[in-house]
Symmetry: C2
Subunit: 244 residues, 2 copies
């Protein structure tokens, strides 16, 4: 009888890296995100609909051209299609990780604050080593660009997604020291009316594309009734009489 | 009659820069904060009591040694002394700005989210050009290090300072999708009891000195009843059944 000998090379799996790339200005990447981005043989990034990837655009000057790129094509609207897109992207990323390559997933702002990275992370983090590099969220870039402090002393800050119902938003805004309303998009006219009705318009500022060359910053009461891009927000600032 | 001629050199005032230097890991500085830090002839940073400055320690490897340093000596406790400390520091910074030098104020985390920079900003921003560079707050670094997403979909996030009364905290925690309790320090044992009473202990994780070599991360129910350093927080994570 012969002896069967299995000959093989054990490949150590790569790591899944969630890199926060900041709100838009490429200089708002952290040193750590830049280092890991440059070292990763594979990068992945979301593309909404047929638009070019915003996350990839932020870091484009830092890419050597030698990295393999995985575009995660997220359809606009339609939750079923979204799930399928992340499942398909997770499978493609898993293949790269199994081959021993680290995969850097580019995340607008911060990976764990409303980041789509979570949908990959929930599919892959039980099987692969992961590292999350926190980034500068627009939550913080907005107040910086508006030159309006977000919280001092014992202020409570409430972060509210605009798609929520008026009743939910009104209840939370009623007792907010300061609040940030994110993901405005088509909800802006409704949110604007709500803030006016609650007497909060005077404390509110609007900002879109924070830190980009085409950034717009203005008091909410100077804003016309137009919809906004997805990457826009309203900061309901601290009360003037708030304790310091 | 002679003509009096005034000869003088008009000096353009320097700019006040509020640089978020991140939660502790020096690699979590942004490229922009690093560039402005290196170019500033004067840096300023808070020192609590007699302790060395944490903000300065974060960036110490990036300092040339040629910069003038202004230490803002903030007394522990005692609001009157604190006000006087910022007033005195603001005057010293104003002198540097008047001389044409930019002054980079180092801010742990982000300058406008509970940053002491605000106390300088409120004293100087009406007279000098300012720029705020947003930074990675521990608000975002904590969840990254805990490997626990902070918010997805339409989650509402509530940021709560630990010194608030139990009744206030309990009301806000009752309907929070996720919450971050900051500035724990001596309040930790009380907050721990409160979260246990509210049935939230199982969803809560504790982290101190996030991203530093001596970082501690653990589930809240594994934590003993000791006080915590000021730079510690509890993340009350998303409900397991939260919609994605």
């Amino acid at each position: 009888m012969g002896i069967a000998i299995a000959v093989g090379v054990q490949v150590m799996a790569g790591r899944l890296l969630g890199l926060g790339v900041g709100p838009g200005d490429p200089e708002l990447l952290t040193l750590k995100a830049l280092r890991l981005l440059k070292a990763a043989p594979v990068i992945a990034f979301p593309c909404l609909g047929d638009s070019p990837s915003f996350a990839r655009a932020i870091v484009s000057d830092y890419l050597s051209g030698d990295q393999r790129e995985i575009a995660i094509n997220v359809p606009l609207g339609g939750h079923g299609g979204t799930d399928a897109a992340y499942t398909s992207a997770a499978a493609e990323i898993a293949t790269a990780l199994d081959g021993g390559d680290d995969v850097a997933v580019l995340c607008e702002g911060d990976a764990f604050l409303y980041g789509s990275f979570m949908y990959l992370w929930s599919r892959l983090s039980d099987r692969y080593g992961c590292e999350i590099v926190p980034g500068v969220s627009s939550l913080l870039a907005g107040p910086a660009r508006l030159a309006r402090p977000l919280a001092a002393g014992n202020d409570i800050v409430t972060i509210l997604p605009a798609p929520l119902d008026d009743a939910v938003l009104a209840a939370r805004l009623a007792d907010a020291d300061s609040a940030v309303i994110m993901k405005l998009g088509r909800h802006l006219p409704r949110i604007h009316r709500l803030l006016a009705r609650l007497g909060l318009e005077g404390r509110s500022h609007y900002i879109e594309r924070a830190t980009l060359p085409n950034e717009i910053c203005q008091p909410l009461n100077a804003l016309g009734p137009a919809p906004a891009p997805y990457f826009s927000m309203i900061v309901v600032g601290r009360r003037e009489d708030a304790p310091r």
